[in-house]
């Protein structure tokens, strides 16, 4: 494989290097996106989306879902009534 590359004209090698670089950039971008996805899911940013999806499948249009603000308010107040433990 290395031999084959060496015998090719220089221009092709540059093009290849460019392709490799853009693939690397794409890889880094995908990596960053996964980290961002993970972090957001872990911290719970997507809870409202999950609620909307759940709501859509369970209720008809006659029950409008909570607004984002109402949802977060209820979610926090719920935790007041139902605390979760944190370990040592």
């Amino acid at each position: 494989m290395a031999d084959a590359t060496a015998r090719r004209p220089a221009r092709t090698t540059t093009v290849r290097a460019g392709a490799a670089a853009s693939a690397a950039v794409e890889g880094v971008r995908r990596g960053c996106r996964s980290v961002a996805w993970y972090l957001r899911d872990l911290m719970g940013d997507n809870a409202y989306q999950a609620y909307l999806e759940h709501h859509r499948t369970q209720h008809g249009p006659e029950h409008p879902p909570l607004t984002e603000r109402e949802f977060w308010r209820q979610r926090m107040d719920e935790q007041d009534r139902n605390p979760g433990a944190r370990c040592c």
Binding site: R40, L42, M43, H54, E68, M76, C87
Partner: protein
């Protein structure tokens, strides 16, 4: 073989030897909800690359253990700890946890989890396994695995290392996995409720009272660790106090400005936190700052008590939730950075494998012989009963598929164990002289540099020659007034971490920053545990009083909230104040109580699991040892430790022996005795040992009650060939997800089948 449930494509084997439920059918229009047995069978086959891979892992692990345990050079490199731990975890996870899965848990992915059956978009919702792993880890791991191993380093590195690594594989992770699994099969019932269902009224009540009391003692002693870390440290006090306004700001931001932007607000909070640490160094260097923020330990303890009460009655959104976000954020970050730094710096360890104190029971950091006290000093990281409270209740309601419980429960605990190993490495990378000067109580060192040098050098430790200059220059390097008798583990870990981190990032100029960064995250983890623990304890109390006075069950009734919060805060606050003012040192006498309490909770949890497994039926009986082994070991350790604490005639070990010695001295009209220089101090010892001794008796009695009821239940189940089934009825699942971190080829194929379904037939999902 009866030990392996037959699996067919549709009819299910819901539990043990019971006949399959004829109603149980998976939807034939959907792709399979579980990997077909033939596929799993094929994946279990050994191929050459697999054999080579596991051979290499075993070999590397074996070499690492040899370097740690057998080759006795002058030093050992820290990287061997990492290899020994990681290779052993991989082997334990790949082999032992699969044995547990196959013969004890016997999950069935065709059954829907509570998250699917009861999906409400809130408490119950199927969560991506990798995200849930992070959630679960953030909930179980805190300051515990960072503190215990540091104290246990008194006995040398080897006993602690073996217990952390072997203990987690055979005990801690087994408990977490099985509690999680069985709670999941019961719709997420808590360990207390399961105890009542399985063991009856007496065992159940004892388990609930024990968990409540144990929670209080754990909060008290964690708070004591924070107090000791912040005492006489203006830098620490300033930066940790700043977490309160930062959390309030985050709370208001999330409530009124941008609801739901949790990652965003956590990043803002993190930047502010770093600013608070940097600012702390500057504030502490000014005369007014040093004067305002240099507080003695009793004042700080009262501060935490008042704070604990206010935090527990304030609405969650204002203080607790934002602090929890910040804490989760820090947890993940700190562990990644710490592991990276240890691998990057690879410090040489000069601490002996087994120290001079391993054979006796009078070490200055904690008293008591290696067996059983090493095993209670390191609780979190090897076997932590508290996890049973998390693994039942919260996490099981979020599991997407049954088979994921192994990755979340067993894997999550392995991760915590790894944190404990890193804490141990950080502590033993310090000079031993400095280690003992920091961790011997002020009663021994007098709290002065001269006293500490004289005391440590008098211990007769090989290779230790402590000079006053070493202590003063180390303290100066991290921006502290003094490092003598900074007991509790947190400052030692912070110093070890600062040493490692400054070699990796920033150099000596950054040592002060890294030290206070470590103090800050330990304090953050502990204060989050204090807030949340007080709330949970109050909730349990409200529930219990509510059985007599129904009004208390109404969680919106403010007087009820205030009264029960006050009772719980008074409970842990009292023990905290006793610890802070203890003339014998505090941590060294109270920490064993923390470990014993935590492990007794593990005994209770494993006892409940034992009864559950025995009730599942005959084919489970010959695998009962998997639960019986950790249960037996933890029971022997904690009961022996409790007996030492109650009956040992050695005053440093036995609470009552000390109690009687001091009372006799008082009766004889003496005005000083041992390390207590005044009559008040002697009276304090008499009072403290009474409280400690009484708590020891109460804890061990409750745990033995639960243990006995469990053994009786188990014996009855064995005689009857099984017992009643408290699991929720099986419901066919309508979704699929891989079981482990990485999807296998068969799982990937199924995922593709599911992804190919038209959108209206796909199950709701939180993934995008």
């Amino acid at each position: 073989m009866t030990s392996q449930p037959p699996r067919t494509d549709i009819g299910a084997e819901p539990i043990g030897d019971r006949p399959p439920d004829p109603e149980f059918r998976t939807d034939p229009d959907l792709p399979p909800t579980a990997v077909p047995e033939a596929e799993s069978e094929r994946e279990r086959k050994w191929t050459l690359p697999k054999i080579l891979l596991w051979g290499a892992i075993s070999l590397l692990g074996g070499v690492a253990w040899t370097m740690l345990a057998i080759v006795r050079g002058e030093t050992v490199n820290a990287v061997w700890f990492v290899f020994a731990a990681v290779c052993t975890y991989l082997i334990g996870y790949r082999f032992y946890s699969k044995v547990i899965e196959r013969y004890i848990a016997r999950p069935d992915d065709r059954r829907a989890t509570p998250a699917e059956v009861r999906a409400d978009g809130k408490d119950y919702h199927a969560t991506d396994r990798r995200v849930l792993f992070g959630h679960h880890f953030a909930a179980i791991a805190g300051a515990g695995p960072l503190v215990g191993p540091v104290l246990a380093a008194q006995m040398g590195y080897l006993p602690g290392t073996i217990w952390i690594i072997v203990g987690v594989i055979l005990a801690g992770a087994v408990q977490d996995y099985l509690v999680l699994f069985f709670s999941m099969r019961r719709g997420g019932r808590t360990i207390g409720q399961m105890a009542r269902d399985e063991l009856g009224r007496i065992g159940g009540t004892a388990a609930i009272i024990a968990s409540l009391l144990i929670m209080l003692i754990i909060i008290a002693i964690l708070a004591l660790v924070v107090v000791n870390a912040l005492g006489e440290s203006p830098w620490g006090v300033f930066s940790v106090s700043m977490t309160i306004p930062i959390a309030l700001l985050m709370g208001v931001y999330l409530r009124y400005l941008r609801p739901g932007r949790i990652t965003e607000v956590s990043l803002i909070g993190f930047v502010l936190l770093i600013a608070a640490i940097v600012a702390g160094g500057w504030v502490a260097s000014t005369p007014w700052g040093a004067e305002t923020f240099t507080l003695d330990r009793t004042t700080i303890a009262w501060g935490i008590i008042v704070y604990g009460f206010i935090a527990a009655v304030l609405p969650v959104w204002l203080l607790l939730a934002p602090r929890d976000y910040l804490s989760t954020f820090m947890k993940i970050g700190v562990i990644v950075v710490l592991a990276g730094a240890i691998v990057l710096v690879r410090p040489e360890i000069t601490v002996p494998a087994i120290s001079e104190f391993a054979g006796g029971e009078l070490g200055p950091v904690f008293s008591g012989s290696l067996f059983p006290f090493l095993f209670v000093t390191i609780a979190c990281g090897a076997l932590s009963g508290f996890h049973a409270l998390i693994a039942s209740g919260t996490t099981p309601k979020l599991l997407e598929k049954e088979r994921q419980s192994r990755f979340i429960g067993y894997g999550g605990m392995l991760m915590e164990s790894f944190v404990a190993i890193m804490a141990l490495v950080a502590a033993i990378s310090l000079d031993r002289g400095i280690y003992f000067a920091m961790n011997s109580s002020a009663a021994a060192t007098g709290g002065t540099i001269e006293g500490a040098v004289a005391f440590v050098n008098s211990l007769g430790l090989t290779g230790v020659n402590l000079t006053p200059d070493m202590l003063s220059s180390t303290a100066e390097a991290v921006g502290e007034e003094s490092i003598v008798s900074r007991t509790g583990g947190a400052p030692t870990l912070a110093l070890g971490l600062a040493n490692i981190m400054q070699q990796a990032f920033g150099g000596a100029a950054m040592a002060g920053f890294w030290y206070h960064f470590a103090i800050m995250f330990e304090a953050l983890f502990i204060l989050t545990a204090v807030d949340a623990g007080t709330r949970v304890a109050r909730f349990m109390l409200q529930d219990s009083i509510g059985n007599v006075i129904p009004k208390f069950k109404d969680t919106a009734w403010r007087p009820g909230v205030w009264i029960t919060t006050a009772i719980m805060v008074a409970g842990w606050g009292y023990i905290l104040i006793l610890g802070v003012t203890d003339p014998l040192g505090g941590i060294n006498t109270f920490f064993p109580l923390f470990g014993i309490a935590n492990q007794l909770l593990a005994v209770i949890a494993l006892a409940v699991v034992l009864a559950i497994v025995a009730k599942r039926g005959r084919s489970y009986f010959k695998w009962l040892w998997i639960v019986g082994l950790p249960l037996g070991f933890a029971a022997v350790v904690t009961i022996t430790a409790s007996m030492f604490k109650i009956f040992s005639p050695v005053p440093q070990v036995g609470y009552w022996a000390n109690h009687i010695a001091f009372r006799n001295a008082l009766d004889a009209g003496e005005t000083s005795f041992g390390t207590a220089g005044t009559v008040e101090a002697m009276e304090a010892v008499v009072r403290n040992t009474f409280v400690q001794g009484t708590l020891s008796i109460v804890f061990v009695t409750l745990a033995i009650t639960v243990l006995v009821t469990s053994l009786v239940t188990t014996a009855r189940a064995i005689r009857n060939g099984g017992g009643e089934n408290h699991e929720d009825p099986p419901v066919p699942s309508r979704r699929f997800a891989p079981a482990g971190l990485v999807a296998t080829p068969a799982e990937k194929a199924l995922e593709r089948d599911w992804a190919a379904l038209p959108a209206d037939r796909r199950p709701e999902t939180v993934r995008h």
